[in-house]
């Protein structure tokens, strides 16, 4: 459900991202059919890619979540907040314990923003990420 909220936020930020002349791409794990279903269901309006080998996840240093995190009061509260907004948990992917990350990379290869999720509900703020280019 946190992924669904995160993708919805990205979709909603798309106009601002375009205005800034910034490209956007999201990467996930699993097979292509799973990704296509997700893109259709979430009305994804930006390029979506699959990295089932998780090589790029390893390169950016994503962390793994713990089942114990689901019992943390903060995560429970976040889950309730996200669910109330209509982001219901979908089918779990094969690597659903691998946490996410967000980066802003300039054409010269410098990294303006780097965020590696510390827990399931710990997604980066896209507005903050974009401000790193100011």
């Amino acid at each position: 459900m946190f992924c669904r909220e995160h993708v919805a936020q990205l979709r909603d930020h798309k106009a601002e991202i375009d205005r800034r002349d910034v490209a956007v791409a999201a990467v996930g794990t699993g097979d292509l059919m799973y990704a296509r279903d997700f893109a259709e269901d979430k009305r994804v309006n930006f390029p979506l890619y699959v990295d089932d080998a998780k090589a790029s996840y390893k390169a950016v240093g994503t962390r793994k979540g713990s089942a114990r995190s689901f019992a943390k009061p903060r995560v429970i509260a976040s889950a309730a907040r996200v669910t109330a907004k209509g982001h219901i948990q979908g089918k779990l992917g094969p690597a659903h314990m691998v946490l996410g990350a967000t980066h802003v990379i300039r054409p010269d290869g410098s990294v303006a923003f780097a965020w590696v999720n510390g827990d399931f509900d710990d997604n980066a703020d896209f507005a903050e990420a974009l401000r790193s280019l100011d």
Binding site: C3, V7, A25, L48, S56, I105, R106, G118
Partner: protein, 47 residues
């Protein structure tokens, strides 16, 4: 804090790695930021 200091060679290491587009084509990540900045999001899963 999840905001981290990236490795100095992060983009260099990411650039040759290929991801698969929804049409099945292989795309080297580096081609996604060679013209303009890229907001790159790694999702936990498509769930």
């Amino acid at each position: 804090m999840p905001r981290v200091q990236p490795a100095p060679d992060l983009a260099e290491r990411l650039a040759p790695l290929e991801v698969t587009a929804l049409d099945g084509s292989a795309v080297p990540l580096g081609t996604l930021w060679d013209q303009r900045p890229l907001l790159l999001v790694h999702l936990r899963h498509f769930g």
